[in-house]
């Protein structure tokens, strides 16, 4: 069973002549431990796909399953709980709260979920340590570099054992080295059993994924097949 499943998912805005198909007939399965990249131009439906996966938006038709449970059959409260406990988001703009330190930002989701401040902070520190950010714990967002802010945002997204990570252009505002650091972090989160979906128009970032899905006009038109080992590249080089 895949962690995230889309079956014939479509989302339509407007009616009649103004009808717009944001996504159409999406079939997608994402397993635990795997990183999937969704590539496509602006307006191809990438972000809609992500907001539906995170239960922030309802599909017009089709079904979405998370951990085998159908989102359609969930109550409003169930979905809110799912968003608090299972799903982590990473956005291009980091969205850290300026008045809180890194560790306070990271532990906030647990506190909002009713976990004591002390326990939340402890969990926050653990995640920051795991992701190599322990020395930044007491810094405020404006004391962190762009790359560090995004890594703190990823720590916040996986805290409390949340295992579906949804990232929308997570390194859009970062330079190459920091973008790479972000992708490495997403990969290491996946190695702990997290399933991640990253939407991006950047092929260099997408190439970190286990599978790349191509979206065009709201439809999945193609996807990569598992590539052969990287070693083959080293044997195939040109002769001059």
């Amino acid at each position: 069973m895949s962690l995230l499943e889309f079956h014939q998912v479509s989302k339509t805005y407007g009616t009649g002549a103004n009808e717009v198909h944001a996504v159409a007939d999406i079939e997608l399965e994402v397993d635990r431990g795997s990183l999937i990249a969704v590539m496509g131009p602006s307006g191809s439906g990438k972000s809609t796909l992500l907001t539906i996966a995170g239960s922030l938006e309802e599909p017009t038709s089709g079904e979405v399953f998370i951990d085998g449970e159908s989102l359609q059959e969930m109550s409003h409260n169930d979905k809110a709980r799912l968003r608090r406990r299972t799903v982590g988001y990473v956005f291009q703009e980091f969205n850290l709260l300026a008045g809180l330190t890194a560790v306070e930002n990271v532990s906030l989701p647990l506190e909002l979920d009713g976990v004591s401040a002390k326990k939340s902070r402890l969990a926050g520190m653990t995640v920051l340590e795991e992701l190599g950010l322990a020395d930044r714990a007491t810094r405020y967002p404006d004391e962190l570099s762009g790359g560090e802010r995004q890594r703190v945002a990823i720590a916040r997204a996986v805290i409390g054992g949340r295992h579906l990570l949804l990232a929308d252009e997570p390194s859009g505002a970062l330079d190459q080295a920091n973008g790479e650091a972000v992708m490495r972090m997403l990969l290491s989160a996946c190695k702990t059993g997290v399933a991640a979906v990253v939407v991006t128009h950047d092929a260099q970032l997408a190439s970190w994924a286990d599978r790349v899905v191509f979206l065009r006009d709201g439809r999945i038109v193609d996807q990569t097949v598992s590539p052969p080992s990287a070693e083959s590249l080293l044997q195939a080089g040109p002769q001059s």
Partner: protein, 192 residues
């Protein structure tokens, strides 16, 4: 062409044997460009003929010959490093030609042609990126070669995306033109 200068570069450090040059060339290019011994010796012979390297008088027999760079060779190497090579003429790019040809063939969906190549290039990029995955074994020189390949392939993807965008805009403009004509005429009529 760059083998010649790579060998001069290796000899600029100190005199070396032919087989040693081959081994160091491969190591220093991240093991990405294999080079055979024959190629090394023919290049060395040409360099020697042109007075850019000279071989040991003492030990001039067989494969054990040792080579050193001459003053002329050092000058040639310095010139090469400091002279940008010619980028003014666009290379004959098979993909660009393919897409230009596809535009005029009836019944061909150019966007499918673009997508087949996009997927292929992204799969290649995934392979190169996997080389980065294991940072511990990631050699500095190999990192530079991998970056170069990823940026080159990335530029192919960007071009494919740009073509897609242009095709889409052209299609919507063609539709718009047919409906815009009456409006344009009306405007012209007002001006009169």
């Amino acid at each position: 062409m760059s083998v010649k200068y790579a060998l001069l570069g290796l000899l600029a450090e100190q005199p070396k044997y032919g087989h040693q040059l081959r081994q160091e060339f491969e190591e220093k290019t991240g093991d990405v460009w294999p080079l055979n011994v024959g190629q090394v010796y023919t290049t060395l012979q040409r360099l020697e003929r042109d007075g850019l390297v000279e071989s040991d008088e003492v030990d001039s027999e067989g494969p054990q010959k040792r080579f050193r760079i001459t003053v002329a060779g050092e000058r040639e190497l310095a010139d090469w490093l400091m002279t940008p090579f010619d980028l003014t003429v666009p290379p004959r790019d098979e993909l660009v030609i393919k897409v230009l040809v596809a535009l005029d063939i009836p019944g061909v969906d150019v966007r499918n042609v673009l997508q087949i190549h996009r997927r292929y290039v992204v799969e290649l990029m995934q392979q190169w990126t996997r080389l980065k995955d294991d940072e511990g074994q990631y050699d500095f020189r190999l990192a530079l070669v991998v970056d170069a390949e990823l940026f080159r392939l990335d530029s192919v993807i960007r071009w494919l995306d740009a073509v897609d965008g242009r095709l889409k805009r052209r299609a919507s403009e063609t539709r718009a033109v047919s409906t815009d004509i009456p409006i344009l005429r009306r405007r012209l009529a007002v001006r009169k």
